[in-house]
Point group: C2
Chain length 207, copies 2
DNA sequence: CCTACCGATCGGTAGG
DNA sequence: CCTACCGATCGGTAGG
């Protein structure tokens, strides 16, 4: 089936582009580079896409949209603010550990995005950050948290997760799940939530 | 004095380059763009520098070196691990709040750095992260902290600071000093240090 | 500090 | 999927 071949080819291009963009940067990667990995010539790529920019937009905005959806699901799954922060942080970190290249592109190639995609990505990021901030404010309001500045606490949690995309290597040290669980606890510490007794560590472990 | 003029011109080029590199990316900025801001022609820039790459290397490595020096000074200033973490985090955050463009270049343009500068920057970052990790391990060892994973706690603190360079805007909301002080406390929470009584907030404030 | 200019590379199109 | 090719732009040099 021609249609299937075209779809898989498109996926190959997409995943090659993600890898090269992440390694060399968007502008440091030529269409020729992408084609070379797939063992074809650069102009052939245009049978599967309309521009290099399209690839970047698809990856960065698509990844951000996925993150937002997952976070909304976490919020909907429980009414307990403590569990919302814990699972929200786990979800956030897991996303960054599992899609490090896509996430890095969204962070590093903002300047390479053309409008209106650039504004859309920035708006989504701002919305996501605000959702976190409101969550922490709710926890403060009902006395479960004591975050001095909810905005700053929100930014801190988000940035910690973004960092995971930089240093986390699958198969080395902790698993993605372990890192995520760990960050769930760190997030709770950060907002000043009372830790349930079973999470208070009896002793110290290292990675 | 010709020498003074040359020095200031060089500084103008440097600061223009930092701004444009941060806004449009290193590869998205041409020497012509830099020259246009200074109202001269691109080839004239080469009277003051030998290559575009040299500008990027100077900024990214120089900024990282400064950060390392400041951190060493903080460690040397006291033997109390709690104060070392607090002031270390304040120093880290202040650096990122005061030099956001330079720091962003170091984070986003790693792929644009040619060797051996690229490796030098990455080595310095790794050394800095390891110094933080050892500091937290010392606090664990003497019973002042209870960080589950010192490595993860160190990464978290570093990444939070890097985030500051993204969202901090001077003159809006908290001052750089306030943000830094706040992060000093967050860092202590993160490593599980016992908070001195005067820092436990009586109620909640927002930014 | 300038003009004139070079070789290289780029994203993308035409046409098959 | 290919070859042939285009206009544009780039970093940098020569020579004054």
């Amino acid at each position: 089936m021609v249609n299937i071949d075209r779809t898989t080819r498109r996926e190959q291009i997409r995943s090659t582009a993600i890898t090269l963009f992440a390694e060399r940067g968007y502008r440091g990667t030529s269409m020729k580079d992408i084609a070379a990995v797939l063992d074809i010539r650069a102009p052939s790529l245009y049978n599967h896409l309309s521009s290099k920019q399209e690839l970047l937009q698809e990856v960065t905005i698509g990844t951000m949209r996925t993150l937002q959806c997952r976070f909304d699901e976490v919020l909907a799954a429980t009414d307990d603010v403590v569990e919302q922060v814990r699972h929200g942080a786990e979800c956030h970190v897991l996303h960054h550990a599992l899609h490090p290249k896509e996430v890095q592109l969204g962070n590093r190639e903002i300047a390479s995005l053309e409008e209106p995609a650039r504004t859309e990505l920035l708006t989504r990021r701002r919305d996501y950050a605000r959702a976190w901030q409101r969550l922490i404010e709710r926890g403060n309001a009902c006395g479960r948290f004591d975050a001095r500045s909810p905005k700053l606490a929100a930014f801190s949690i988000l940035e910690m997760g973004i960092g995971v995309a930089t240093w986390f290597i699958p198969g080395r040290g902790m698993s993605a799940q372990e890192v995520a669980a760990h960050f769930g606890e760190i997030a709770l510490r950060l907002v000043g939530a009372d830790l349930p007794a079973e999470l208070v560590p009896p002793s110290t472990t290292s990675t």
